[in-house]
């Protein structure tokens, strides 16, 4: 199943390129933070350290605080399964500047690639049932013009290849916070 699928790093880079200007990117603990840094390190990145799955909620807080800026939460399938209720909260809050990139490799990449219990779920169908049909798409079906017209809150589903762990983040929480605080000044 992983033949011809993009790496997590490439999927993240492709999703960021859908935006005309760099969005805030809130990456979940572990693989997503590491691969976001490897794909596109930027002061607008927020690398969070858990618990797994909280990035969608943190991104909602950023989106509510900066309503004129686009925010992209980056989360794995195992992580979103741990905070699935955040989709319901986001659907109710209706932020018009928030999107979720779900990178689905069907394993806990940071934990010896143990298979996730969500590996047989249709994430696109789940996203559409909660956020709306028009709000969710596969990364492989998106181009910048189509993405610009996709209503928010939105979800991009990216099937990705299983891979190795990313390079170490090499940033302390204080460094991450200070950099993001500076980049997100109102």
């Amino acid at each position: 199943m992983t033949a011809n699928l993009p790496s997590q790093k490439d999927a993240i880079a492709s999703a960021l390129k859908l935006y005309p200007t760099r969005p805030y990117a809130v990456a979940d603990i572990g693989s997503q933070s590491g691969w976001l840094k490897a794909a596109s390190h930027d002061a607008r990145n927020l690398y969070v350290s858990g618990p797994m799955g909280l990035s969608t909620s943190i991104a909602l807080g950023v989106a509510a605080s900066r309503p004129n800026e686009q925010v992209l939460a980056i989360i794995g399938d195992g992580a979103l399964a741990m905070n699935l209720t955040s989709l319901i909260t986001i659907a109710n809050a209706k932020p018009d500047n928030l999107a979720i990139l779900l990178v689905d490799n069907r394993v806990y990449e940071y934990t010896a690639s143990v298979p996730t219990p969500s590996r047989e779920l249709d994430w696109l169908a789940i996203g559409r049932s909660i956020l709306g049909d028009r709000n969710c798409a596969r990364l492989s079906d998106l181009a910048p013009d189509k993405w610009a017209e996709t209503p928010r809150p939105a979800m991009i589903v990216a099937d990705i290849a299983q891979g190795d762990k990313p390079p170490p983040l090499g940033m302390s929480p204080a460094m991450i916070r200070a950099a993001f605080l500076e980049a997100s000044k109102a």
């Binding site: 969070v48 858990g50 909620s57 943190i58 909602l60 807080g61 950023v62 509510a64 109710n92 997100s184």
Partner: protein, 170 residues
């Protein structure tokens, strides 16, 4: 419901005086009127979360952007979110304010609340500074003062609201 028809609780007035960017929460009976007022106002956003761990995330996102955020939950809810509280609030030194209804005290003896109170005392009070107040007798500057403390301490402040027996003093 129009904002003008919703009674403003003392807690809501204190929240408003702190000028938060957002308030987030999961309802508890003691907080219901305040949450209704928060939902009705246009002075800040209220984000209703499906579960309490999300509230820590939402408040963390706002605090990471340098904004004031307030969480309204019951003690059982904060207990559900201890991991998030530690790995976001404490680890990133985020100065948000959590207002917790501390159920299970002498004046609030629902059988299902007793262990929540015990667990709150054993866990949250060992992790964070908890400021405890009579829910019926709140200082006007409670929430602004909690932010001043949190911003000076560079960590979350927890306000525990409890029912008191009739005639009890603070």
């Amino acid at each position: 419901m129009a904002e003008t028809s919703i009674p403003k609780t003392a807690l809501f007035q204190s929240i408003r005086d702190a000028s938060p960017k957002l308030v987030t929460g999961v309802p508890d009976g003691m907080l219901a009127a305040t949450i209704e007022a928060c939902q009705a106002t246009d002075e800040f956003a209220y984000i209703a979360c499906a579960r309490e761990e999300e509230c820590i995330g939402v408040a963390s996102g706002a605090a990471m952007a340098g904004e004031r955020a307030i969480i309204l939950v019951q003690n059982a809810g904060l207990l559900n979110a201890i991991g998030a509280f530690a790995t976001m609030g404490l680890r990133y030194q985020l100065p948000f304010v959590i207002i917790v209804t501390n159920r299970g005290v002498l004046a609030d003896p629902n059988s299902y609340d007793i262990e929540k109170h015990d667990a709150f005392e054993l866990s949250v009070k060992n992790l964070a500074r908890v400021f405890t107040y009579d829910a019926a007798n709140l200082p006007k500057d409670l929430v602004p003062a909690a932010f001043k403390w949190a911003e000076a301490a560079r960590r979350p402040a927890v306000i525990a609201l409890e029912r008191r027996l009739e005639g009890a003093t603070q």
